[in-house]
Subunit: 388 residues, 4 copies
C-alpha cells in the first residue's frame, strides 16, 4: 500500500551529492547567537524545502523543518530548525545565504519537480489556480484514505465559513471516521459550531441563510454558556453542547487547537490567546503532519503553511511531498498561500459546503471500493488502482 501513495504524488528526486558544487562544499559555518531571541548577522533563513547541511563532511537534514527560521546545532550535536525567538544567547546558528551548497547548505528545490517541457511553449489554461480547472475529488479521496489506513496524521485547518455553510455534519463524519489527526482553528469556528448546536443558528443566521430577529446576540449567549461551564469539554459533558464539530472532537478525543485573534468575541475558555503560545501549540501538530487540508481561511491557512515543511520524512528517512489541499471561494487565498512559499499547495476553488459534501461522498466510495476489492481477494495495491 505504501508504494501506492507515491504514485499519486510526485516522486522524490534525491539530490546528487556527487555534483561538483556539492562534492566540493565546505562544512556549514555556525556562529553563536548574540542575545536571546536575536540571530547572528547573515544567519541562514530556512525554506520549507528539503535542506541538507554539511557537518563534519556529512550531509544532514535538520529536525522540525519549516520556513522563516534558523538552523541551530545543539549541545548534543543534534541539528534543528528553530524560530529566531526561540534561540538563546550562545546557541550555534548556521550562517550563509547561498542555497546551492557552496557554503555548506543545500536547498533541494527540485526534490519533487515534475518534468517540464521546453520553456515558453505556447499553451492555454496554464494558470496554476483557477475556478475553471476541474477538481479531482477521486484523487483527494484516495490520498485521504491512504493516509488513514497507513497511520498518517492529516491536519485540518478551517475557517468559520465551514460552519456558516452547514458543512458541520460532513466535518463531524470525517472526525468520527478517523480522518482527522488534529484540527486547528480559531475561536470563531468553535463559537459558531456551538451556537449552531445550542440555537440552530450561526451569527444569528438560520440554516436557510436568513438573519433571525434577535439573532445577533446568540453567539454571545453560546460563548457565555461555555464560559459558565468552564471549558468546551465540560460543556459537552454537562449537555450544553450536544452535536457538531467540537462535540465530535471531544467525544473522539481528537486533539484540537483553538487560537485567538483580535477579532474574537469572548473568547471561549479553550482558546490560546497568546499568538506565540498558539504557534507553539500549532507546531506540535505541524511537525507530525503527513497531510494538510486547509478550508476557507486565509489567516489559519497561511499560518499553518508557514510551519509546514513541503515534505514528509518517512520513518525510514525517505521523503515524500506533503499533500496540501487549500480550499477557498477565491483564487486569491491560494495564490497568497503560494506567494508566502507554500508552493506545494493544490488549490480547490469552491465553497466549503460543497467541497466537504463531495469529498465525503468520494471517500465513502473509495472505502466501499477497497472493501469490495479486498473481499475479492485483490491485493491492496490493485484495489487502489481500481479506486481511481
Amino acid at each position: 500500500m505504501v508504494r501506492a501513495i507515491f504514485r499519486l504524488v510526485p516522486a522524490f528526486n534525491p539530490p546528487d551529492f556527487a555534483k561538483p558544487v556539492l562534492a566540493a562544499a565546505p562544512d556549514a559555518r555556525f556562529v553563536p547567537a548574540p542575545a536571546d531571541g536575536v540571530l547572528p548577522e547573515s544567519f541562514f533563513s530556512t525554506t520549507n524545502l528539503p535542506t541538507y547541511v554539511r557537518i563534519d563532511g556529512a550531509w544532514r537534514l535538520p529536525r522540525e523543518p519549516r520556513m522563516d527560521s534558523a538552523l541551530v546545532l545543539d549541545a548534543d550535536g543534534e541539528l534543528w530548525v528553530r524560530e529566531g525567538r526561540r534561540v538563546r544567547k550562545g546557541d550555534r546558528v548556521a550562517v550563509g545565504t547561498a542555497e546551492d551548497g557552496r557554503e555548506g547548505i543545500y536547498v533541494h528545490a527540485a526534490a519533487f519537480m515534475e518534468e517540464v517541457g521546453p520553456d515558453g511553449e505556447f499553451k492555454f489554461m496554464s494558470s496554476e489556480v483557477s475556478r475553471e480547472k476541474p477538481i479531482d475529488y477521486a484523487l483527494m479521496a484516495d490520498i485521504l484514505v491512504n493516509e488513514r489506513d497507513n497511520g498518517g496524521y492529516p491536519i485540518w485547518v478551517a475557517g468559520p465559513a465551514l460552519v456558516h455553510s452547514r458543512a458541520r455534519h460532513d466535518m463531524v463524519w470525517f472526525i468520527e471516521n478517523g480522518f482527522v489527526g488534529a484540527m486547528l482553528a480559531g475561536n470563531a469556528v468553535a463559537v459558531h459550531d456551538i451556537e449552531a448546536s445550542i440555537f440552530g443558528t450561526t451569527l444569528g443566521m438560520s440554516g436557510a441563510g436568513k438573519a433571525t430577529q434577535g439573532g445577533h446576540g446568540l453567539h454571545m449567549r453560546a460563548i457565555n454558556a461555555v464560559r459558565a461551564a468552564g471549558s468546551i469539554k465540560a460543556a459537552v459533558e454537562n449537555g450544553v453542547i450536544t452535536d457538531g464539530i467540537m462535540h465530535a472532537l471531544v467525544k473522539t478525543n481528537t486533539p484540537f487547537v483553538l487560537t485567538g485573534s483580535i477579532r474574537d468575541d469572548g473568547p471561549l475558555p479553550d482558546v490560546i490567546t497568546d499568538a506565540i503560545a498558539a504557534q507553539d501549540a500549532m507546531r506540535a501538530h505541524a511537525i507530525k503532519a503527513t497531510m494538510a487540508i486547509l478550508i476557507a481561511t486565509a489567516l489559519h491557512a497561511i499560518a499553518t503553511g508557514n510551519m509546514l515543511p513541503a515534505f514528509v520524512t518517512e520513518s525510514d528517512g525517505s521523503l515524500r511531498e506533503l499533500a496540501t489541499i487549500c480550499v477557498d471561494s477565491a483564487e486569491f487565498v491560494v495564490s497568497k498561500l503560494k506567494d508566502r512559499g507554500t508552493h506545494q499547495a493544490f488549490g480547490v476553488v469552491t465553497n466549503a459546503q460543497d467541497f466537504m459534501h463531495i469529498l465525503r461522498l468520494y471517500v465513502e466510495r473509495a472505502i466501499d471500493q477497497r472493501r469490495i476489492a479486498v473481499a475479492a481477494g485483490a491485493t491492496s495495491d490493485r484495489a487502489v488502482t481500481a479506486a481511481r
Copy 2:
C-alpha cells in the same frame, strides 16, 4: 402537486385595485411611434414585474412581459411588451413614467414580497449574496422535480466553466432525464464540449487540469471537424461527436440556442452570429420559461435575465414567482444580475462542477423519495413534504 410549488416560493399577493390611486386611475394613454424602431417621447419603460395596464376601464396584463421594453397595443386590441427596435411606425405605444397606477399603468412591485421586520433592526449576516450562506440543494432539487413533473419549461443557461470543470456528465444526465426545457449558451460551451468528446481536452487542458503539449490547437480542430460536417447534428450523426452535452441535446431533441460573440473562434455552423437574431431566438424560449438555471456565465445570465419576467403566468391566469438560480464562483455576477433588475435571482456562490454534482445527487434522492412515497400510497402532497 401544483400547490406544493407555492409553498416553496413566495406566494403571490394580488394587487388591491380598490385602493384609491388604482380605483381613481385613468386609462393608460397610447401614442403612435414616430418611426420604425423609435418610440414616442416619454414612452413607458417596462420592468420584469407584474404590470397592470388600464384599458377601457379594465386592468390587463400584457403578453410576453420583460424589462427595458415598451407596451404596445396592436390592431386587434392585444397588449404586448415589445423591444423598441421591433416597434413599427404608427404602432400604439403606452406613455407615462408613473408606476403607481396614476397614469393608468401599475407596476406591482410587492407581488412576491415576504414580510419584513421593522426597518433598521440590527442584524448580522443580512447580505443577500455571500459565499458564507448555506446552499439549500434540497429545495432546489424539489423545485426542479416539480417543474419536470408538472410540465414546466426550465431553461438552462451556461458558460464554458461548465465544460472546463468537467460537469459535462452531470449536465448530460439532466438533459437525458427530462429536466431541460431548452439550453441557451454561446459558441464556447459547444466548442469545448465537442473538443472534450473528440480529444478529451478543453482548450487543450486535460481532465486532470493540465495544459497538454500542442493542446492550444485542439479546439480549432474540433471546430473545423464540425464545419466540415456542416452542423452539430450532422457531426453527431456521422460519428464525429460521440458523447457530451451537444450530443445529448441532439439525441433527445432538446432545443438549444447557440449565440455568437466577438470572442468566438470559428464559429460552429449552428451559432447565430447576429446579436438581434440571437436575442429573438432566446426570447422564443424565455417567454415559455417556468424556471431558469444560470451557471457560470455573466454575459448569458444577464442577457437571459433581461428577457425573463420575474414571474410565471399559469394557464389559469394566476401568477407565481419564476424561480431563478444563478450559480457563480463570485458574488459579483449575482449582484450584477440583481443590479440589472433580476431581483428574484437566488445566488449560489460555488463552482459549476460542484453545483452540478450535488444538485444531481439531490434530484436523484428527491425522485427516489417520491417513488417510495407513491409506492407507500402517500398523496403526492405528502411526498413533497417528505422530500424536504
Copy 3:
C-alpha cells in the same frame, strides 16, 4: 465649520421618547454576574447603535459603546458597555432581549437613516457595495480635513497590501500632516515597512513587483535587526530604520498599536502578542475615534469594526454618525464587515495603492481650496462648499 460636517453625513434623528412604547417603558432590570467573566442568563447583548437605557425614569446613553458586549451599572451609578470577559462576579448587568424599549432598553436603529422610497420599487444598481459604483474622493477628503481641523481622532487600520503596493509614501504624508489620530495594524505591516526601509523590498519583492533572488529571507533579517535594537523606536533612533510608516509614527509621536497573530514571523518587539491585551490596547483608541479608515485588511477591519460604535458622541452630548471607510480589492470584505454589524461602513472597492494616492491628491486640493477661500475672506462654511 462644525455644522459643515453634518451636511456631509446623515443627520441624527433623535428618538421620540413620547412615543407610547417608550413613554410606558419600565426601568431596565440589572442582575448580578454569577462569576468573573460570566454574564447572567438573558443578558442584554449590545449593538453598535445608540442605545438608551432607562434608569430611575431617565433615558441614559452608556459610556464606551460597542457591539457584542453587556451593559454594566457600576457602584458609582455610572453606566458602561463592557465585554463579558471584563465583568466581575456581582457586577450589575442589564438583562432583556427586547430592543424596542419595552424592557427599558431602546436601540435607536433609525438614528442616522436616510429617507427611503416606497418598498420594492424597481431599480437598477441598488447593491450596496460594488466595483461598479463611483468613489467620491472629494467627499472623503472633505470629511478627513474637517476631522483634522476640528480636533477629531481618525484611526487608520491597515493590512500589509498597503506596504506591498508601495502606498507607504502616501501613508507617511498623512501621518506627517496630522491626519492620523492612531494607527492600528499587525506585525506584518511593520515588518514589510521596515524591510522596505532597510532592503527596498517587501517579502523579497522589489518595487517593480519582481521576486528577488534570496529575497525570501529579507523580512527575517529586518525583524532580527529590530529585535537586536530592542524596539522600533530604538531602531529608528539608531539609524536602522530611516524612512517609512513606522519611522513617521515614531518621529511624529503618533500612537500606534501592533497586534499579534498566529501568522507572525518574529514578531517585532513592539507587537502585543496576547489577543486580549491587544484588544484592550485597540479599544483605548476605538473609544476616542471620530472616524475610521480601514484599508486592505479583513482581520483588523472586522476587529476594529466590532469595537467601534456606529456614532460619535460630541462633547455637547449630541451624536453624529462615525464616518467609516473600508477599502478593499473585493466587495467581499466590505460585505463581511457589514454582515458583522458595521452597517455604517462605506465601501471603496479598489486597491490600497490607488486609494491612498488619489485620497492624498484630493486632500491636498481640499486644503488648497480652503486656504484660498480663507485668504479671500470667505467664511469657513462657504469654503467647505467651494471645496466640494
Copy 4:
C-alpha cells in the same frame, strides 16, 4: 527616442537559424482547403508569437499575425494569417503540428523572454497577477507618451465600469490629447456614456452612486434619442449628446468600433450586431495596434487579445513586444486572458476609475518633464530617463 522604448520592455532575442533543427528544416508544406471555411486536416494552428515559415529555403514572417488561425499562401506568394472561416476552397494552407521548425514552421516562444534564475528557487511573491503587487504608473505613462510621440497606434478596449465609475472625464482627456488610436467597446459603454451626457446617470445611478427613482428607464430613453437621430454622430451634431466619450471620439474623428452582444438594449444605430462583421471591424484596428489598454471588460479584452499578436513589427522589419495592459478589479480576468494565450498582458488589479485618474496624472507629469527636459536642451533620450 525609438531606442528608449526598447529599454522599457524586454528586448527581442532573434531566432538562431543556425541551430541544427532550424538549419536542417524542410520547407513548410501547404495543402489546399477542401471547402469554403474548412481547413485541411492537421492544419497548423497559429499562436500570437513570432512565427517563421520556411518557403523556398527562406524563413518568412506572415502578415496579420494572430492566434487560433491558419497560415495561407496566396496566389501572389504572399503569406497571411487567416481565420478558418475566411479561407476559400483551394487556398493553400500550411499543415503540421510541430512548432520547433522540424516541419518548416518555427514558433519563436523565447522572443521576448527575460533571463530567469535556476528552476525551482524558493521565492515569495512570485505569482504573476496579484492585488498585492505595486503598479508602475510611471512606466505605463512613459510607454504611452512614447507611443503617441512616435506615431504609435494604441487601442483602448473598455467595459461599462469605465462609465459607471465616472472615469469618463479622464477617458475624454486621453482622446482629446491624442493617446487613442482607436476605441473598441460594446453597446453598453456608449449607452451609459450617452445616458450620463443626457441625464447625468448611468443605468439610473447618480454620480454619487445612488439609484434614482424612475432611473431604470433612462438608458432606454438615451438609446431612443440616438435612434431617433439616426446615429451617434448625428446625435452629437444635433446637440443631443454634449459631452463624454462618444462626443470626444466624434469631435476628434477618432475611430471607434461598437460591437453587439446578446445583452444589448437597443442597440444604438452604430453597433455592429453581427459577431463576424464585428470581429472584422475590430481586426482592422488590431493589425495596426502598437499597444493595447484593456479596461474592466472580460469579453472585449479576451476578444481583442485573441486578435492581437504578442509583438509589433516595426517598419524596418524588427520586432518588439506589444505592450498590453489589462486592468480589472479581480485577478481572475487577467489570469483568464493569459489562460487564453495573451501571455504578454501586464495585469493591473484595481478599479477603472482610479486607474484612469492616476494614469492621466502620470501622463501629464511625463509630458511636463519632457517639455522641461527639451527646454533645457537635453536630448530626448535623456528626457525619458529623467521621466522615470
